[in-house]
């Protein structure tokens, strides 16, 4: 049953598992002052895995283990950007973790296991693989959220995340069992045909509802968003950076894999389109409105995430290859923007100072103009103001909604963007127009890799606003087949 071919298809994942095990062992035997070795090795593992993904990419989609695992363009792009996000997380968090005595090998091991979960999730060919990948991702994430175990807020956030996450996983699994009951198959490729001739369409519908609850929870779409602000605020910023980037890519991948089975020509398309439209509107409204009153930047960004997931859902509502491409483009752009925003927070934080209140950024332009500029790029991009990258992502989403004939959704999204503009501009206002607090240091960490990579990451938002064509072409290609 297990063939050599299967192993070749799974080579990046197998390599990652092996490398993480080595990393875990190695870290147990080195002295704390040699932790740099773990750090750099983890980065190398990430890069090599990315290289294996690219170099092993087949021309046509292939499956392994009887269709349990799919390697196609969509999987490649999502895996690559998830690995890129993890790379950024590693580079950005070293000084932050060091200052807080959190610089342990477990951080790297858990993050890599989580990204392994992401890789399985986005290339799942069967309901079982979806669940497997999801659990690997979320279980690692729970531990990462609780990573600062002496901090009460961190533990509280982890408990909340765990309880609600378990509920969502249960709901997803329950829905899957119903879908299986209605169709008799777990294979996503066969599900499309099987669902058309399902004996019990109501059972299928129920199953789908439960699955959508699970998806909405993972995305953080309202009204299943309650965990998100607490986790963002309570968890170590390094962990949040991961959750805001790689995790969101994974959530999109999961939604795409599960829903494409019920996609164009598929049954009950209208039902789930309507459900997603409702989720999108709620997310846009709640996310943007509640973000306005936040004073904690991480919490504000959490609500902004909720709003951004609303936009992403608009692409999924379209349920055509163009719509999926727009949503994928959006997920990637969001990952790139949020890593910049959290990267600046990580860079400005120091021992005993989290730098996560909006007021902590007062007068940043006078103390550290470059960091202020990078943060401004992230904020303006998140707000979707041209010429930054975020605008083009938003444009594609609006286009997808209009193409789907849902002009009203596009108008709701447009109004939401106006509301959103206010709180992003508030951060710019604090940095540029307010005077710095006397006696506060506000200098970025002197960590060179952090500064350079963060600068490149932020400037990419400008560069990609000119050269977004290739990325879009790539996203379109992923769903063209």
């Amino acid at each position: 049953m297990l063939s050599w071919n299967d192993i070749l298809v799974l080579l990046p994942e197998i390599y990652l598992v092996a490398a993480v095990c080595v990393l875990l062992l190695m870290d147990a035997f080195i002295k704390p002052d040699q932790r740099n070795a773990t750090h750099w090795l983890a980065i190398i593992v990430t890069v090599v895995t990315g290289w294996l993904v690219v170099s092993g990419q087949p021309a046509v989609p292939v499956t392994a283990f009887d269709g349990m695992f799919v390697r196609d363009r969509a999987a490649e792009i999502l895996q690559l950007f998830a690995l890129l996000s993890v790379f950024l997380v590693f580079v950005y968090s070293r000084p932050y973790l060091k200052d807080r005595n959190l610089w342990h090998g477990e951080f790297y091991v858990l993050t890599l296991f989580a990204v392994l979960g992401v890789m399985f999730l986005v290339s799942a060919g069967s309901l079982v693989t979806v669940y497997l990948g999801l659990e690997l991702l979320t279980l690692s994430s729970y531990a990462l959220v609780a990573f600062n175990r002496d901090s009460r807020v961190s533990s509280e956030a982890a408990i909340k995340y765990f309880v609600l996450g378990a509920l969502a996983s249960g709901s997803l699994l329950y829905g899957m069992s119903m879908v299986y009951g209605a169709t008799g198959t777990l294979d996503l490729a066969q599900l499309h045909a099987a669902a058309l001739h399902a004996d019990m369409p109501n059972l299928l519908r129920f199953g789908l509802i439960f699955m959508i609850v699970g998806i909405a929870f993972k995305l953080g779409a309202a009204p299943f968003h309650m965990w998100l602000p607490d986790v963002y605020e309570g968890a170590p910023t390094a962990t949040v950076t991961f959750i805001a980037s790689a995790s969101k890519l994974a959530a999109f991948g999961m939604a795409y894999r599960l829903l494409s089975a019920f996609g164009p020509g598929g049954p009950i398309l209208h039902q789930w389109q309507l459900m997603f439209a409702v989720l999108a509107v709620l997310s846009l409204v709640i996310g943007n409105l509640v973000a306005i009153v936040q004073t904690n930047l991480k919490r504000m960004l959490a609500y902004s995430t909720i709003a951004h997931m609303g936009y992403l859902l608009l692409g999924l509502v379209n349920a055509t290859p163009a719509g999926y491409a727009a949503a994928l483009f959006y997920a990637i752009s969001y990952a790139l923007m949020s890593t910049v925003a959290f990267g600046v927070i990580l860079a400005m934080a120091r021992a005993g100072f989290e730098c996560d209140n909006i007021d902590d950024f007062k007068g940043l332009n006078q103390r550290s103009p470059w960091m202020a500029f990078l943060m401004m790029l992230a904020m303006v991009s998140l707000a979707g103001v041209p010429p930054l990258f975020g605008f083009f992502a938003k444009y594609l989403i609006l286009k997808a909604a209009i193409d789907a004939g849902m002009m009203w959704l596009a108008i709701v999204a447009a109004i939401a963007a106006i509301v959103g503009l206010y709180y992003y501009l508030r951060v710019v206002k604090v940095m540029y127009f307010d005077a710095p607090v006397e006696g506060q240091e506000l200098k970025p960490q002197p960590d060179l890799p952090l500064r350079w990579v963060l600068s490149i990451n932020a400037l990419a938002l400008l560069v990609l606003s000119v050269y977004w064509g290739p990325l879009l072409g790539w996203c379109q290609m992923a769903f063209a087949g």
């Binding site: 332009n365 041209p386 106006i418 503009l421 501009l425 977004w468």
Partner: protein, 502 residues
């Protein structure tokens, strides 16, 4: 070079912002680099006059590069006579604001100020060059960012409120335009503005799009009742910000009507022309009265801007009555020409007025009319300029202010004498608030010791005001070259409007 002249004009100032920022705040180097870049841009823009053939095709100096091929989005640039005039206005003002602010922002991050100005200039030129609707939109929106920073950092006490209001207000308008543009793109299959203009649309489609665009451009111009951001933004902005805002940014709204609403939606524009005409006449009267009671000089000039821009929209939409109902093409051309001349003239006059107020503000740090009085006794040269620009603001014959207003009133008279009567009323109210301002500030006895200690304008300030004065006088005495420059493009537009797209 002529093939890439437009790209050069757009990107040179923006690229110039980088060395300015690197030069830093300590030396005057950053200001010199910035000024050099602005001057080179201005000189380069003069080549437009030789490169543009008034008898040639509609769009000239065309540059098209594919941007996003799968969506048929191009980096497409081109200019007609209208664009050339507005680009020259932009580059001219771009030089003068940097000279005007030379000593004023010396101690407060001058490099960032200069860089923001240069980026703003490049983006404004981009707006006037773009022939691809998405590219236009990108420039149209992007210019909010440097202006946001300009008002927010170097503005007055309530700058944060004013700049947020400015940004969110304008963003509100343009996001609906984006939705409209995407819809139009869906119908036309391309973002090319000429293709969009040639695409047939039903009346209901046109109506929806018309209102989507109307919100965007009406806020930008601004028209009543969405004008409230302008007085706040003007009052709080630094002098240079006010000058650019009044002289160039407001013109983007009028330009948007010319490029989008009129040619793309001629039937809806004709149908709702009455609405825009009414909305233009209201500020001409009402805002004039509002200006009369202002105690803050900048606010007064800001309100007078709204009244003057009312003439622009009046001229743009009176055309539909002339063309569609009366078939009077000559009067229609006159109206459009009047609108354009009014836009240019207002650019120079309002820029000069704000510069004058800036000169006073730099000395006394107040904009209240009551704090001044009898300036003519201590600042005779300044008084000369101030009175001259005030006359231009009123629309005295011989200044540029007269030409545009006269043309629009003349054209309106052919459409409906009553409209012309109401519009002409502005000359009375305009004279009222402007002359009263001059009387209180310039004439009379010196009112306080502070005023008595004010020094007359120095060479730098005299240069800025003098340059404005030359142009205002030039257009006023001999408007023919400007009218000729835009004549062909306006002819083309008038014929476009006459044809129904339904």
């Amino acid at each position: 070079m002529s093939n890439h002249l437009l790209s050069l004009l757009i990107w040179l100032p923006m690229a110039g912002a980088v060395p300015v920022l690197i030069a830093g705040s300590r030396s005057s180097l950053s200001r010199w680099i910035g000024l050099l870049v602005a001057i080179v841009t201005f000189v380069a823009s003069l080549f437009l006059l030789t490169g543009y053939d008034t008898n040639g095709p509609v769009m000239q100096l065309v540059e098209v590069h594919p941007w996003i091929e799968s969506l048929h989005i191009n980096y497409a640039l081109g200019v007609d006579g209208i664009s050339v005039a507005l680009i020259l206005l932009t580059t001219f003002v771009g030089v003068l604001v940097l000279i005007g602010a030379w000593d004023v922002i010396k101690d407060d991050k001058p490099h960032q100020y200069v860089a923001a100005m240069l980026v703003l200039e490049g983006l404004l030129i981009g707006v006037f060059c773009a022939t691809d609707a998405l590219l236009f939109y990108v420039f149209f929106e992007a210019m909010l960012i440097p202006m946001f920073i300009l008002i927010g950092i170097w503005g007055g006490p309530r700058r944060v409120y004013a700049t947020l209001k400015f940004f969110i207000y304008t963003f509100l308008g343009s996001i609906f335009m984006l939705v409209g543009l995407i819809y139009l793109y869906q119908q036309a299959g391309s973002f090319d503005m000429a293709t969009m203009a040639a695409t047939p649309l039903t009346m209901s489609q046109q109506s929806w799009l018309f209102f989507a665009f109307l919100i965007a451009f009406a806020i930008k111009i601004p028209m009543v009742p969405v004008h409230t951001w302008l007085p706040d933004a003007h009052v709080e902005a630094p002098t240079g910000g006010s000058v650019v805002l009044a002289a160039v940014m407001l013109k983007v709204g009028g330009y948007g009507f010319l490029r989008f609403s009129l040619p793309m939606l001629p039937d809806a524009s004709a149908h709702y022309a009455w609405l825009v005409i009414v909305l233009s006449l209201i500020p001409i009267i009402y805002i004039g009265y509002v200006a009369l009671v202002q105690e803050d000089m900048k606010k007064l000039v800001a309100y007078s801007s709204i009244a003057h821009m009312g003439f622009v929209t009046l001229g743009l939409f009176i055309v539909f009555i002339l063309v569609r109902e009366l078939g009077n093409y000559d009067a229609a051309k006159l109206a459009l020409q009047g609108s354009m001349v009014q836009m240019m003239s207002h650019g120079f006059v309002s820029g000069a007025m704000f510069s004058c107020i800036g000169v006073m503000y730099d000395r006394l740090h107040t904009r209240q009319i009551k704090d001044y009085g009898g300036l003519v006794n201590v600042m005779p040269w300044f008084a000369l300029f101030m009175v001259f620009f005030a006359m231009a603001n009123i629309g005295l014959p011989g200044t540029s202010g007269f030409v545009g207003e006269f043309m629009v009133i003349l054209a309106s008279f052919s459409a409906n004498p009553w409209i012309a009567l109401v519009a002409a009323f502005t000359l009375v109210i305009g004279a009222g608030y402007t002359l009263w301002l001059v009387k209180r500030v310039v004439w009379g006895d010196v009112t306080s010791d502070k005023v008595a200690a004010m020094k007359d304008i120095n060479g730098r300030e005299a240069f800025v005001l003098g340059a404005f004065a030359v142009v205002v006088l030039g257009i006023g005495i001999w408007p023919e070259p400007l009218v000729h420059l835009m004549g062909g493009s306006i002819n083309h537009l008038v014929h476009q409007l006459a044809i129904s797209k339904i």
